[in-house]
Amino acid sequence: MNSGIGLIVWIIAYPFVSFFLGVLLGGYGRKLTARVQRRVGPTWIQPLFDVIKLMTKQTNISHGYMHDVAMMMLVGGTLMTMYFVPVPGFHYFSQFGDYIVVMYLLLVPPLGMALGVGQTANPNGSIGISRALQMLAGYEITLVMTFIGFAMKHGTTSMYELMKLQQAGGPATWGIFAEPLLGIAALFALQGMLNEKPFEVIIAPHEIATGPMTEMGGKYLGMMFIQHLIALPMELTIFMNLFLGGAQSWVEYVVKLFVLFTLVLVVNAVYGRFKTDGALRFFWKLPLPLAALGVVMIMANGM
């Protein structure tokens, strides 16, 4: 499905598939968290209902041109990144952009959000954005470090190539088993990238009243929800492709997505959130040195 009509169908369908997966993952997350908290929880497709409700609301207030453009950057940046992350049966764009491109594009949504929220001039939003950008210095550097290790070991920066190499070698060559230091560091980074506790400093309702979302309502908030639902499977997929051998079938892909997300959710349910500096300090004290050590070991083993 990486040429001809199949490719066109994939290009059109992929955002919807990703959104649908995001809805299921989001609903599962709310349900699982509710069960840990001894609640029943909402229905599994509650995120879809939330988006429908928000997107059908009348927009009465805009904070100006940049506020609107930012929403395009937010969702557009996420969609563009998504195409470069290979999934079973669809890896056409990954030949044009490797992991470095993905990391670069991953910065577009937060920057879009920063512009839009900055336009609202709400201090809660501005603090939230400042925290988001600070957090990049925590998990992003760790992620890049883990990737450098893999790129050095396998001699390629292509996410698709790395995935194929792991699939050919079997589970023993999966990143998480072959390079556990990098894998553990990346798990922490994933938790930060997904903005889940203990690294949920951007939203922090009790501190900054949901931060960037404070001044968003109706369709603007709906767009943020859509972006989150698309980004959720994509970010899990990036980790899966680098450390869990990707997936060769959609069944394997979905199972790995849910297992990985369960791990994230359980940690999220039983921990509070760090302060911003505490989160950064944690990343620089544990995951980043772990990743650096992993890279050193790869270098010591002659790559």
Partner: protein
């Protein structure tokens, strides 16, 4: 699209948000904010993420309780006083009833005194469970509020069975309590106490020993003991500073003198100390409840007064105080011999903790600690508006 209104136009929508000359900006926590404790608000002047000045704003729940009481019959006020502190209403009822009893020289049957202690301690447990949930919410640990508040519901079930009300009980009457214990109630109280006790270790695992809580609460919001005394702190907030003052021990009322219990204290006087003192108080309250169930005598529960509509309390005044979960509650009541109180003054813990001490403690604190410091002081906003 023509309906869309563009506001702001790049300018600040919050006063002070674009004030480069002093780099300070204003932020509001409340009255509509996840981080506020009840009907209340904090106005913060901030530079960077450091709070320069904090001003509390009350009045969102103003009913004028004290003035209302002057206009109503003695018996009618029992339905008002419980609303002064929603999470822990019973100390208000008990104080109000005891003030009338002191002025009128009304004797309270011993069984009623035991039942009052039972209700007061159950209320303390319910209130502390509520506080744990609120405090955990400030650091984003939302599993804890779901656990502790659902466990609190079991205590509220007991209140519903005993008094007919889950939150407001209107149960302590001048001269005793309104109802005797229902059949089998003592066993159900024992079951709930066993359950709450069994849950404490789970709370420890999830919350009190949680690394993130320790990271955020230890050393945060320190209230030195000299300032705590000077500023009028009482209850767990004072005991967390190492000062073991408890009205139940120092000026015993009802039957507390006959019961064995310890007064938990801590030394560090930070947000964590205040929290852990409350955690230990639950264990002590369970201990008290079990003793009450063992020792409660048979007999009447209400030395009933004549027709409440014509009931005149003799002229005089009284000052009574109770150890509530929030701190010391005191009522000063004056009667001119009429059917209504001439004056009732409520000395609650929340004006002290939730206004004066909070404003002082927030100056210099970081914005992410504001909510936690406030919840660690555990104030009752309606009481500020009394």
């Amino acid at each position: 699209m023509s309906d869309i209104v563009t506001i702001n136009d790049g300018k600040a929508i919050m006063p002070g948000a674009n004030a480069p000359e002093n780099r300070e900006y204003n932020m509001f926590i409340g009255p509509n904010h996840p981080g506020i404790e009840g009907n209340f608000a904090l106005k913060l002047s901030i530079e960077g993420d450091i709070i320069q000045k904090a001003k509390t704003e009350a009045g969102f729940l103003h009913r004028g309780f004290e003035k209302l009481m002057e206009e109503r019959l003695f018996i009618q006020n029992i339905a008002i006083v419980c609303r002064i502190c929603v999470p822990d209403p019973d100390p208000n009822e008990e104080n109000y009833a005891r003030a009338i009893e002191a002025i009128g020289g009304i004797e309270v049957p011993r069984r009623a005194q035991f039942i009052r202690v039972l209700v007061l301690e159950l209320s303390r447990i319910a209130s502390h469970l509520f506080t744990f949930g609120g405090h955990a919410g400030t650091i984003g640990l939302y599993t804890m509020p779901n656990w502790s508040i659902s466990d609190r519901d079991r205590v509220l079930d007991l209140f519903e069975e005993l008094t007919g009300g889950r939150v407001y009980h209107i149960f302590n009457m001048p001269g005793g309590v309104r109802r005797d214990l229902p059949d089998g109630f003592k066993n159900r109280v024992r079951d709930v106490m066993d359950y709450v006790e069994s849950r404490l270790s789970e709370y420890d695992d999830l919350f009190f020993n949680n690394k993130i809580l320790l990271n955020r609460a230890v050393g945060t919001g320190i209230l030195p003991v000299d300032k705590a005394i000077a500023w009028g702190a009482t209850g767990p907030n004072l005991r967390a500073a190492g000062f073991a003052h408890d009205v139940r021990k120092d000026d015993p009322y009802e039957v507390y003198e006959e019961l064995e219990f310890d007064v938990p204290t801590a030394a560090d006087s930070d947000a964590y100390s205040r929290l852990i003192v409350r955690r230990r108080e639950i264990a002590e309250s369970i201990r008290i409840v079990r003793q009450v169930l063992d020792k409660i005598p048979e007999g009447p529960v209400w030395n009933k007064q004549p027709n409440p509509l014509k009931w005149r309390v003799p002229a005089g005044d009284a000052y009574v105080r109770t150890e509530s979960s929030k701190g010391e509650y005191a009522y000063y009541m004056v009667s001119d011999g009429g059917v209504r109180p001439y004056r009732v003054h409520v000395r609650g813990a929340s004006v002290t903790h939730g206004v004066h001490i909070l404003e002082n403690m927030l100056a210099g604190a970081r914005i992410e600690d504001a909510s936690q410091i406030m919840f660690s002081l555990d104030a009752c906003p309606p009481e500020v508006d009394r």
